[in-house]
């Protein structure tokens, strides 16, 4: 088995999950509680990766992050190198690609919090930020867990975007799913099978955790 690829995938997935935990929460909060009439447009943009072919998304990220366009040039002037075909580029692409997998469960979690509890917190003097950390977040724990785990798992399994943006550089951008593809292409079915089986078990485990967490969270507060 290609431990280097597995380690790289884990590193990427942990980073994506951590970034989305921090960046996805404010987006989800805004999506849940904003009354802006054009909110649905933002929601649609966030959800785009769910329906776009990964190659399309990968293509635009590649072009966007490239040296000919503003985000790419900005990055280059700041850090001295371009993003595509680096771990940083892979990370940026993966964060965008997994955004809906974090934002939507977070948002569903926030949505499930009884509005009156939020209002009760306000009348007791809590600011919006305090209300978020003391009431909304603790009561939408299952949504937070689901969002983090899903974005982690989704990053482990991504293929098209990685190939477009990261290429296939061993130790830098060759992740586990690309490794399986390589092994199968090279006719190493035994190795491909081992890695594939590992991913299958991992995915099953992840989904079990999510469904388990949701069930427990539901039964915990159901009595009220």
């Amino acid at each position: 088995m290609n431990w280097q690829a597995i380690a790289l995938s884990l590193k990427l997935a942990f980073s994506v999950a951590a970034i989305l935990l921090v960046a996805g929460m404010p987006i989800a909060y805004w999506v849940t509680f904003s009354r802006w009439r054009w909110k649905f447009l933002v929601e649609a943009v966030v959800a785009l990766p769910l329906v776009l072919p990964p190659t399309v998304l990968g293509y635009y990220i590649l072009v966007g992050l490239g040296p000919r366009n503003l985000p790419g040039r900005l990055w280059q002037s700041l850090f001295g190198h371009t993003l595509p075909f680096t771990f940083g580029g892979l990370l940026a692409a993966s964060v965008l690609y997994s955004l809906p997998f974090a934002v939507q469960p977070f948002s569903a979690g926030f949505e499930s919090v009884d509005r009156r509890l939020i209002e009760a917190a306000w009348t007791l003097g809590a600011s919006r930020l305090a209300t978020f950390f003391r009431v909304i977040l603790p009561l939408s724990g299952a949504g937070a867990v689901t969002g983090v785990v899903l974005s982690f798992a989704h990053t482990i399994g991504e293929f098209g975007v990685v190939l477009m943006v990261g290429g296939n550089i061993p130790g830098v951008t060759r992740t586990i799913s690309i490794d399986i593809y390589d092994q199968a292409q090279a006719g190493n079915y035994a190795t491909a099978n081992h890695t594939a089986l590992l991913l299958l078990l991992f995915s099953f485990l992840v989904l079990s955790v999510i469904y388990g967490a949701n069930r427990r969270a539901l039964s915990l507060w159901r009595k009220l």
Binding site: D114, R116, L117, E119, A120, A121, W122, T123, L124, G125, A126, S127, A130, R134, V135, P138, L139, L220, W221, K223, L224
Partner: protein
């Protein structure tokens, strides 16, 4: 200590336009569901923004559309007791009560929580979670939590509606005692007349989003200013009315004339009498000293509650002078129906007596309503 409210808000087809002033005793906000009670409370708490108007609490302007003032809910220092109590399910009883005391030093916070726990008779429950509490205990925790921040006003939104009947009287007593010691303004929203009457000193009556009456509760119940208020305060019998030539009142829907003790300046639009003020007795009894407003009647239907009986009576004739004689002086179809409420004891005394019975709408119990 006063709370002044004058606000307007349009929500689709519903128009809220209320104004009242609360100072001193708990003020009851009475009205049927959909009359705007809860929306008014939410506007005062800062959870709803009125389109226009002004809310002033103890001289502090919380909302003023002309001056562009809108103090956010968290800075209003108003205790709100939600209908379903809205306890934080992930926090213990003590943590719920301490929720609004974050900025206090720990000793002061603990002292206040302990004081609230003891006032609410919740000692020993501080580490329990809301889901393990009974409805009554939840209500006491919610009240303690609202009071812990020492609010300038306390708003109670139908605090008993989520509770079983047998719990209510004890909790109501607890609430009345608590309110008696509370220094701020209290607003009590209810659709239950008797509850509002027991808890409050003054009442504001809302109908279709508007204030239709405000005053001391006794006054509101004795002399409802409009038919709407009479109905909302539980009056069951009313008829259109006009003044007759001989100084009595002609009840147009009832097709009879009635003598009324209450002096009236403007021409009355309606005449009304409360069910528990309608007197019923068997016809054979000794002569009463009065003969006015006495009719013969037959029982149409009867509803029993544990201590009282509600009687639907068809009034069949004005018996005038011939008490004890044959009662039928008007055809059955000409009569009108009236509701009476009597104690079980009284009911048992005449239930088996031969009908028709006599029904009296005493002149001092009948009241007139302007348009």
């Amino acid at each position: 200590m006063s709370l002044e409210v004058a606000i307007e808000k349009q929500v689709q087809d519903f128009r809220l336009s209320v104004q009242f002033k609360a100072d001193g005793p708990p003020l009851g906000l009475l009205g049927s569901s959909g009359s705007g009670k809860t929306m008014t409370l939410r506007a005062i708490a800062g959870l709803e923004t009125p389109d226009r108007g002004r809310i002033v609490l103890h001289g502090r302007v919380l909302f003023d559309s002309d001056e562009g003032i809108n103090v956010p809910a968290r800075a209003r220092r108003i205790g709100l007791l939600f209908q379903n109590f809205a306890l934080f399910p992930h926090l213990s009883v003590a943590e719920n009560i301490a929720f609004g005391l974050r900025r206090l030093p720990p000793e002061e916070r603990n002292r206040r929580v302990a004081a609230q726990l003891s006032a609410a008779h919740l000692e020993g429950m501080e580490n329990r979670y809301p889901a393990t509490l009974s409805g009554g205990e939840q209500q006491r925790v919610a009240l303690a939590r609202a009071l812990s921040i020492e609010p300038a006003a306390l708003l109670l939104d139908e605090p008993f509606s989520a509770l079983d009947t047998h719990l209510r009287s004890a909790l109501e007593r607890h609430l009345r005692e608590t309110l008696a010691h509370y220094g701020g303004s209290t607003l009590f929203v209810s659709h239950n007349l008797e509850e509002a009457y027991r808890v409050c000193g003054e009442l504001v009556v809302l109908a279709q989003g508007s204030t239709v009456a405000q005053g001391p509760k006794e006054e509101i119940f004795r002399h409802p200013p409009t038919l709407e208020v009479a109905r909302l305060t539980g009056c069951k019998n009313y008829s259109r009315a006009r003044r007759a030539a001989d100084g009595s009142i002609e009840a147009l829907d009832w097709g009879c004339k009635l003598r009324v003790a209450q002096p009236f300046a403007q021409p009355p639009a309606h005449i009304a009498v409360r069910a528990h003020h309608v007197r019923v007795r068997p016809a054979g009894e000794s002569k009463p000293e009065r003969r006015e407003n006495i009719f013969s009647c037959r029982l149409v239907a009867m509803t029993e509650t544990p201590f009282r009986v509600t009687l639907d009576l068809r009034v069949i004739g004005n018996i005038g002078g011939n008490i004890g004689g044959p009662a039928e002086t008007a055809p059955e179809s000409a009569g009108f129906q009236i509701q009476a409420e009597v104690f079980k004891q009284e009911w048992e005394a005449f239930r088996d007596m031969p009908q028709p019975w006599l029904v009296e709408l005493a002149p001092e119990r009948v009241f007139l309503l302007p348009d």
